[in-house]
Symmetry: C2
Subunit: 337 residues, 2 copies
């Protein structure tokens, strides 16, 4: 009977039981907890909050790795290969993957090519397609919260897949320990259009699909990126950022990439920087939660929403400028209790 | 002597004179006004506000066009060709371009290939590289404010170049009338990874570099995108969204793209939707200004910043969770006067 309970969350289990399940490594409970965290329903938000409070006290930390790049850069096949390598080294792995179904939910647009099929079948891996992971803008803390759940569940490595250039990467950098930027052979031209930000936050660059006829082009691209990295200051003192040639098809460069990542973590651990970084991640979560909280308080206050409607009408009628209107609304929000 | 005045803004001219200059079509005054709008200096912010208040009362509107796509999709060469076409049709044009210098400011990384060289030389065009235009996340209203200045200066067409997939496009959609998505030949594969959002907000798709050997591939890509658009609901009732084959090199498809855009504006004007959309843009600016204002009020309040430091220390020490800390800070902000 309880299976018929609150849709998508799998029944009326209390937050404490779910939290215990997560911490005990129960995958169903973990999935349920993530659904609650991602939910927009205020009742779910309250449960999610209680689960998160319990999970965070466990104080577990994973190696958090962001894998970023343009659509088509081969992120998901690369993650599948790297994931196999990680598991074969004896680690458990969680992947927060960009959800391709968002494009297909009203019917299949480009077929149903499953993503990370092999990895999904492995019991050591937990793959979660997430609508939010591709779009980290706006300070939404949900991705960060989901990572806390994965850590509490005991996953040793977390891979966060993100799309695009821009705010997403800055957020990914703030909530992970290592940022791997994936680029296609021939994408050296794009350096022109790439905002400096993305090169500054990358801890390594992987040139993907470096196989068959593309090997030479991939090498030239790697040189371009190596030169570009050489002109930027170091991100972590003492760590020279590498450009790796990789191929999910031939397997080339996958072991080397994992070696590069583990070497980086060793370095950070020895210098004490890893612990510092984890503290910074917590501060960054706090900042995101405050921004989110301010926005939520603003939007959920009926008196403010009433005033907002009035001011919008004044602005539309040209009796107030948007600048005057905004001042009035910020003021109104601060004087409410 | 006045030339030596406040650096970057070119001297101590008062806001009223600058506003008059902008409205009178003086390019130097326009450039200075944009610099003030983009400045983080609170003194500049006040001048900028006064200039904007005067400019907005002019009530001028331009055709606002967003051109978006991944790095390397050929946005700047496309905009150069489309810009020539627009000028040859007798219109004045302003372009807010992604600033490539952000990558190069500590020395040339990939040479100094000038962007939009030909267009920059035309007196009918005003090209402004802008650090913010590529990254519209976080509700920053500066790009929108810059467009108000360009409209007050009398530009009939504004092109806003944006990079990436994600939040940037959603913002670009909220502040423009027409969104053109540029894609490379062969990028049909990327449909898999593209969030639905970007396809839903595109009013047309341009397949770039459709010349020479790439023509056949470009045609196949156009079919992929046509099929994808066909599965999504209409963005504007009565407007069938087109996929255009274009080449900045051969000039193919450029006239057609401009024809498509003007046809769209005619349709919107006749139905009254254009006016409605301009009202919505003003509401969206108001929303962005409120978010920005809330964040600014939060960050600039010394008592809150003091409390924030205390709470951050408590969170770092594990005596408060980030969730509890955020609640306390949101509460503290609302109770301050």
């Amino acid at each position: 009977m309880s299976r018929q309970g609150s849709a998508g969350t799998g029944g009326p289990l209390d937050a404490e039981s779910i939290a215990r399940g997560v911490i005990g490594g129960n995958r169903q409970m973990l999935a349920r907890a993530i659904t609650l965290v991602e939910s927009e329903n205020p009742v779910h938000a309250e449960s999610a909050r209680r689960i998160l409070e319990q999970c965070i006290t466990e104080g577990r930390h994973a190696m958090r790795i962001a894998v970023t790049g343009s659509p088509g850069a081969g992120k998901s096949t690369f993650i599948e290969s790297l994931g196999e390598e990680i598991i074969s080294n004896g680690h458990s792995l969680a992947v927060l993957a960009v959800d391709p179904s968002s494009l297909r939910s009203r019917g299949s647009i480009l077929g149903d090519k499953a993503r990370m099929e092999k990895l999904t079948a492995r019991k050591e891996a937990f793959i979660r397609p997430t609508a939010s992971s591709g779009h980290l803008g706006g300070g939404a803390p949900k991705t960060h919260e989901t990572m806390l759940l994965l850590e509490a569940a005991g996953y040793e490595v977390i891979i966060l897949e993100t799309v695009g250039v821009g705010q997403s990467e800055v957020h990914a950098d703030a909530m992970t320990d290592f940022v791997l930027l994936l680029m296609l052979p021939g994408s050296g031209d794009e350096l022109q259009g790439i905002k400096r930000g993305i090169m500054e936050i990358a801890d390594a660059v992987g040139v993907t699909k470096a196989d068959g006829e593309r090997v030479e082009l991939a090498k030239a691209t790697a040189s371009d990126f190596t030169a570009a990295l050489g002109m930027l200051p170091e991100k972590h003192p003492g760590h020279r950022r590498k450009v790796l040639l990789t191929s999910a098809r031939s397997g080339a460069g996958i072991k080397e990439t994992w070696g590069e990542i583990t070497g980086f973590f060793d370095l950070l651990q020895k210098s004490g920087e890893l612990e510092l970084r984890q503290l910074q991640q917590r501060s960054s979560l706090l900042r995101d939660l405050v921004e989110w909280g301010l926005r939520k308080a603003y939007r959920s206050d009926p008196a403010i929403q009433q005033r907002k409607a009035e001011i919008e009408a004044e602005v539309a009628a040209g009796r107030l400028s948007p600048f005057e209107g905004a001042d009035l609304l910020v003021e109104a929000f601060r004087l409410r209790r």
